[in-house]
């Protein structure tokens, strides 16, 4: 079951609650995964699940985006009640969560008045509110275990996240704020979260491929137009942002 429950050809991408968790370009992660899968001849079924619909339990990759305070609290409450996402994660499906989505898959996060709100406990992290808002470009070096080159992205959040013994930091911050303690994001098994907001996978195609490979196994490298533009774009962003 779980990751193996999908049909022979279709990779099921599930975008969770775009009505609540999509503030700024979050659709980009869905589009990039879809594009990179299709370019390799993998069929894709992209499913958008709004907050008034049940979360399907047999998706291959689940995506959660960013959100304002109130929608984040609402999303966490509904996802706890629904229980579909936690069930899918327990069965080994891939979860990629960004910003507000990252916080709410943890054990706890800060609500609209700073009050602690219960998360989904899919990832062993706890988040709260920091002193100031982290806004700007972020660079971070990924845990070598994952074999993914330097992350480049944009962050815009006031969260502070502590990682528990059940998870590992995704990366070490070179420029920017991240979790607030010099680390950025977290992962455990096939669940991965980050403060790189919005279309984080656009600038980080290797991270997109890591998620895809968790779902479908080893992937051939990509070449062609799409990859050439992505590489040029990524190089420009890396060159534009000073380290430290």
């Amino acid at each position: 079951m779980g990751a193996h429950a999908r049909g022979p050809s279709n990779l099921r991408l599930v975008w969770v609650y775009p009505d609540l968790l999509s503030t700024y370009g979050d659709r980009g992660n869905l589009l990039v995964l879809e594009r990179r899968a299709r370019l390799r001849g993998i069929g894709v079924e992209a499913i958008q699940v709004n907050a008034d619909q049940p979360v399907p339990r047999h998706g291959d990759i689940y995506l959660l985006g960013g959100g304002e305070d109130l929608p984040q609290v609402l999303a966490a409450r509904r996802l706890r009640t629904d229980a579909g996402l936690a069930a899918a994660a327990a069965q080994g499906s891939v979860v990629f969560a960004v910003c507000a989505g990252y916080q709410l898959i943890g054990a706890e996060f800060g609500g609209d008045k700073g009050q602690p709100v219960a998360g989904l406990e899919i990832l062993d992290i706890r988040s709260g509110r920091g002193e100031r808002r982290g806004v700007g470009e972020i660079l971070a070096d990924v845990d070598p275990e994952l074999g993914v080159p330097r992350l480049s992205g944009f962050e815009n959040h006031q969260g502070v996240t502590r990682i528990g013994p059940g998870a590992r930091p995704l990366a070490r911050v070179l420029t920017g704020v991240g979790n607030g303690d010099g680390t950025e994001g977290a992962y455990a098994g096939r669940v991965l979260g980050t403060y790189l907001h919005g279309p984080a996978l656009v600038r980080n195609p290797a991270l997109a491929d890591l998620l895809l490979s968790w779902a479908v196994g080893t992937l051939p490298p990509l070449d062609g137009e799409y990859e050439a533009w992505t590489a040029r774009f990524r190089e420009q962003r890396l060159a534009a942002v000073p380290v430290g």
């Binding site: 700024y24 980009g28 589009l31 929608p71 609402l74 806004v135 774009f233």
Partner: protein
């Protein structure tokens, strides 16, 4: 206390500010600097300058500058001078400068940045606040839009003399305006729904149908409107249907125009009289301008955020003319280009697409993901050179990219 000292104070401040501003008049896009100096000398300047005038504030994510211009035109039917910050300088200094430049004008129509609405409303004691729409925009520097709406609502609750003219089709606008003591509801339409799936009052899901929106849980629903935009016509408060026939293109401008008609009514200007004036507006601060360049027609459209791009696509030449898309990410644009992924570019698949701007590569990757063929060019001149002589090039650009292109083609025009 007495009237005399107050008036003297007003006169002094006015004289000083006006003097400084007259020296600055005609330079660049105007007199923000004069307003900055004035405010430094007298922090209460805005309130002093606005005293004894009928002030209209215009705010929202998109359409502020154009609607300000349309209302100013409509109110000119009253035959008296109307002060206005016509060029989009929409924070306190720009407003003070606009008022200082027209000390005798009994009316003022002021485009106001979303964040400044509460303080400007308080300072100017505005008669009308015009609320167009609210959607995601430059989130690296602007407040979250739900928070903006809440602050507006609180400001309206504290301003019993103010009439809010509000777009009833935008749920967040409707929620903010329903805190006001006097409201004129306008069904001005809402194309962009991505920021209003949830009820602003209770957070539950909104349902949409032909009649508007309604919360599935609480009672909150689209207020019934006194003015309705219906295709290319307006149904006014008396039930008359009038063709708008604007010179400005697109659905967004028809929406802006209906908002302007509702504001004009507050001051006793009839729809017929207002429309007659509004139809003479052909371009606004360079937007919708057509210029000739090397034997081609170049048409300039400004789009600063996803909702704005959606409206700009609506205005594209129906004959599948080539289009140049140009994006920067300077501070006025927002440093973050993530919003590009909220725009659906597939609508330009059927025409030649050129890409430029400081963040042209962000756009290139975005278009590639949508399967839109495009060509990266060095700037406006290269794009123009790719268009056949006698042909048309539409240009859609965000803020500083637009200004750069406008400057480039302006030099040749």
């Amino acid at each position: 206390m007495g009237k005399l000292p107050m008036r003297a104070r007003v006169a002094t401040t006015l004289g000083g500010a006006a003097g400084r501003m007259s020296r600055l008049a005609g330079r660049g896009d105007g007199s923000v600097i004069g307003g900055v100096i004035g405010l430094r000398v007298e922090p209460g300047l805005l309130s002093l300058l606005a005293a004894d005038r009928q002030v209209v504030l215009v705010t929202g994510t998109n359409g502020k500058t154009t609607t300000t211009r349309l209302i100013t035109s409509a109110l000119s039917a009253l035959g008296q001078q109307v002060a206005s910050n016509a060029f989009g300088a929409n924070m306190e200094a720009g407003l003070a400068a606009a008022l200082g430049a027209a000390p005798e004008a009994p009316y003022a129509v002021l485009e106001t940045d979303e964040k400044y609405v509460p303080s400007v409303l308080q300072a100017t004691n505005a008669r009308v606040v015009t609320l167009l729409n609210l959607s995601r925009d430059q989130m690296d520097r602007a407040a979250e839009i739900w928070l903006v709406a809440r602050r507006w609502r609180e400001a309206f609750e504290a301003a019993p003399d103010c009439r809010v003219v509000a777009n009833a089709d935008d749920p967040l606008i409707a929620w903010a305006a329903s805190g006001a003591h006097q409201v004129t509801w306008v069904a001005a339409g809402q194309r962009w729904h991505e920021d209003s799936w949830c009820c602003p009052r209770c957070g539950s899901h909104l349902r949409r149908d032909d009649l508007g929106w309604r919360c599935g849980e609480c009672e909150f629903s689209r207020p019934s409107a006194r003015w309705v935009l219906d295709g290319s016509s307006v149904i006014d408060s008396a039930g008359r249907v009038t063709e708008l026939s604007l010179a400005l293109p697109g659905r967004a401008n028809r929406s802006n125009a209906v908002m302007a008609l509702a504001v004009a009514e507050v001051f006793g200007v009839s729809p017929a009289a207002a429309l007659q004036k509004m139809r003479s507006v052909t371009s606004v601060a360079g937007r919708y301008t057509q210029v000739e360049r090397d034997g081609r027609t170049v048409r300039l459209l400004l789009a600063k955020n996803p909702a704005g791009w959606l409206e700009a696509f609506d205005v594209l030449d129906p004959a599948r003319a080539p289009v140049l898309l140009s994006v920067n990410a300077q501070v006025p644009d927002g440093r973050d280009t993530s919003w590009l992924w909220d725009v659906d570019y597939r609508v330009v698949r059927d025409r030649p697409v050129f890409v430029s701007g400081e963040r042209g590569l962000d756009l290139a990757v975005r278009l590639e993901a949508d399967g839109v063929p495009f060509e990266l060019v060095g700037g406006i001149d290269e794009a123009v050179s790719r268009v056949r002589p006698g042909g048309t090039l539409d240009v859609i650009a965000n803020y500083t990219a637009f200004q750069q292109i406008r400057t480039a083609v302006g030099r040749a025009a």
